[in-house]
């Protein structure tokens, strides 16, 4: 049955059946083949997967991000970031990374971050004489910070699957996000110095203060979200809805850049973004239910533990597996299918599931910028109007440093767990 499941999945993937449907069809094929399970289970599992209050944070965070983007927030964040780091060599690359970190604190998705910040910064970098592939590579990799810095849609899904507190995962993502952000800036700085990309002149303190004042309402949003969750005031879903209302008020009444005519478009794109994720969650939950029923997690655990019982070795193996699969698989689908399979091994070797969740999210984020299948690269390339082949060479240094980051995070668990523990969330 498992053979049918995986063989048909690969077949459907190869002929380009959309991911959610391919996963669903493979599950159907396995169920029909076994004959032991009534196929009505499929619909029932799909319903229960979507019927979830914690998952409601997904549309809310997408909507909040979208309201902030159309409301003129991304531009203000970019200007503020520019006043702080614009003066250094490769200054605009720094701005792209810092602004993506700020935006990542509002949005929970990598693609949204690339789109929101990249539409401003990729053209700006090109105008300043940065070569297009470099500019695009910086922005695409910076966008992955969107899933590391809270809020984060993959973390919400991991939390729902494993029962690890979503608030704790959010808190745990902060330091790793900063680590990855700084390491990306380091690489961008090395390359920029070699290529001679100069920064702007040093801004006055007054200018920094002015841009800060402009951006303060946007910068307040993460404070509300994280502060609310940390203070035990909101659940993540409620924090997300507060962010929506806040974004709406700021965009409509304070910045006044949002218009009612844009609203329908914003709502429909939010629903589409949401349902793309939810549909994958729904069909993957059938798939992962079959895996569990077939005791695949136990079998996988046995195989892995027969290779080694050393946590360092096992984590390295799992990281390699994740890097490989992340290149080909969509992040949400990868999480839903892999987490139930890998979690028994992880807990058996004594790895903290919170720590593993962070490593998993950062690792899979690398998959979003690895050619030939990286969603962030696609968005970046379409903004810069270049082909994927052109960017491949420029993106490797950034991927390499991210791999180093993942290894650091894997072997230094405290980077991920210290903040949740300090704040009492874990």
């Amino acid at each position: 049955m498992t053979t049918v499941l995986f063989a048909s999945l690969i077949l459907f993937f190869v002929i380009n059946v959309p991911i959610a449907i391919a996963i669903g069809l493979a599950s159907v094929a396995a169920i029909l083949f076994s004959g032991a399970i009534p196929p009505i289970v499929i619909v029932q599992k799909m319903f229960t997967a979507a019927d979830s209050f914690p998952l409601m944070a997904v549309p809310f965070f997408i909507l909040a991000g979208s309201l902030m983007e159309f409301g003129g927030i991304s531009r203000r964040l970019v200007e503020f970031a520019n006043s702080i780091v614009g003066r250094f060599s490769g200054g605009l690359a720094f701005v792209a990374i810092i602004a993506s970190m700020f935006f990542g604190a509002i949005s929970g998705a990598a693609v949204a971050t690339v789109a929101a910040i990249g539409t401003i910064l990729i053209p700006a970098m090109v105008r300043r004489g940065y070569d297009k592939p470099f500019a695009t590579a910086v922005q695409a990799t910076a966008g992955t910070l969107g899933v590391m810095i809270p809020p984060s849609i993959p973390m919400i899904i991991y939390g729902v699957l494993t029962g690890v507190s979503i608030g704790a995962l959010f808190m745990g993502g902060i330091l790793p996000g900063i680590l990855v952000g700084c390491s990306l800036m380091f690489v961008a700085w090395l390359i920029s110095r070699k290529k001679g990309y100069h920064g702007d002149e040093k801004p006055t303190l007054g200018r920094i203060w002015q841009t800060f004042k402009q951006a303060i309402l946007a910068l307040m949003m993460p404070v509300i979200i994280l502060g609310g969750i940390y203070g035990g005031v909101f659940t993540p879903t409620e924090a997300a809805v507060v962010a929506v209302v806040y974004g709406f008020i700021v965009g409509f009444f304070i910045y006044k850049e949002l218009h009612l005519s844009q609203l329908k478009n914003i709502l429909v794109t939010t629903v589409m973004g949401t349902s793309m994720i939810m549909f994958i969650i729904a069909t993957s939950s059938v798939f992962s239910w079959i895996l569990t029923a077939e005791q695949v997690p136990q079998a996988v655990a046995e195989v892995i533990l027969s290779i080694s019982k050393n946590p360092v070795v096992i984590l390295t193996l799992i990281n390699i597996l994740l890097l490989f699969l992340g290149t080909f698989m969509e992040t949400v689908a990868a999480i839903i299918i892999l987490v139930p399979v890998l979690l028994p091994v992880i807990t058996q070797i004594g790895v903290d599931p919170l720590h593993f969740g962070i490593v998993l999210v950062v690792n899979l984020a690398i998959g979003m910028v690895t050619p030939p299948l990286g969603v962030c690269l696609f968005i970046g390339c379409s903004i810069a109007d270049i082909k994927l082949e052109d960017i491949t060479r420029a993106v490797w240094p950034f991927i390499l440093i991210m791999v180093v980051d993942v290894l650091l995070l894997t072997y230094l668990p405290w980077i991920s767990t210290v903040l949740p523990k300090l704040t009492g969330l874990y």
Binding site: F12, F13, V14, I15, N16, V17, P18, I19, A20, I21, A22, G24, L25, V28, P39, I40, I42, V43, Q44, M46, F47, A50, D51, S52, F53, L55, M56, P59, F60, L63, V233, F234, T237, E238, V241, V242, V244, V245, K264, L267, V268, T270, V271, M272, T274, S275, M276, M278, F279, A282, F328, E330, P372, L373, V375
Partner: protein, 162 residues
């Protein structure tokens, strides 16, 4: 064919308005839940359940908009390596595969309604058929859209031959 396309575009537009409205209601309901807890210190018994069922409807109806707009992501690497003629054939095949899945959603989505319709939801005491029918309704929509897509692939090929 053009008439069919126009009809389906109209249908999709209605669905788009419906999901937009549902999303607004979901935001309002969950926000009310927060307000009630903090400002009025009493909790709404129905807000969580209602918003969850709206999420189910949004998820599946939204997926139908995705099918209509061809927005669901797939793995394109292998297909892109094929010669154009085969590419079309494979695209046709993939669309049919999707149609099969949607047909199953329709069949079993209807069958499960007979089972769950009698059950009442815990908080609002509405029939469980109401949230569950999201799968059946969206299944129907997606099935129609995918058939339209399959047809337009075939028609497109004929046009090329001429």
């Amino acid at each position: 064919m053009i008439l069919l396309k126009k009809l389906l575009n109209g249908l999709n537009r209605i669905v788009e308005y419906a999901v937009s409205l549902l999303l607004i209601v979901m935001v309002v309901v969950v926000f009310l839940q927060v307000i009630f807890r903090f400002v009025l210190h009493s909790s709404l018994p129905w807000s969580e359940e209602l918003s969850r069922y709206i999420l189910v409807w949004i998820s599946f109806l939204g997926a139908s908009i995705g099918v209509k707009r061809g927005a669901h992501i797939g793995v394109e690497v292998v297909v892109n390596m094929l010669p154009p003629k085969m590419k079309k054939g494979v695209a046709f095949l993939a669309t049919l595969c999707a149609a099969v899945f949607f047909a199953l959603m329709v069949i079993y989505g209807r069958r499960i309604l007979f089972i769950v319709s009698g059950q009442r939801s815990p908080a609002m005491e509405i029939s469980m058929g109401i949230p569950y029918s999201a799968i059946f309704v969206s299944g129907v929509l997606m099935f129609i859209y995918s058939i339209e897509q399959a047809l337009s692939i075939v028609v497109g090929r004929r046009d090329e031959a001429i």
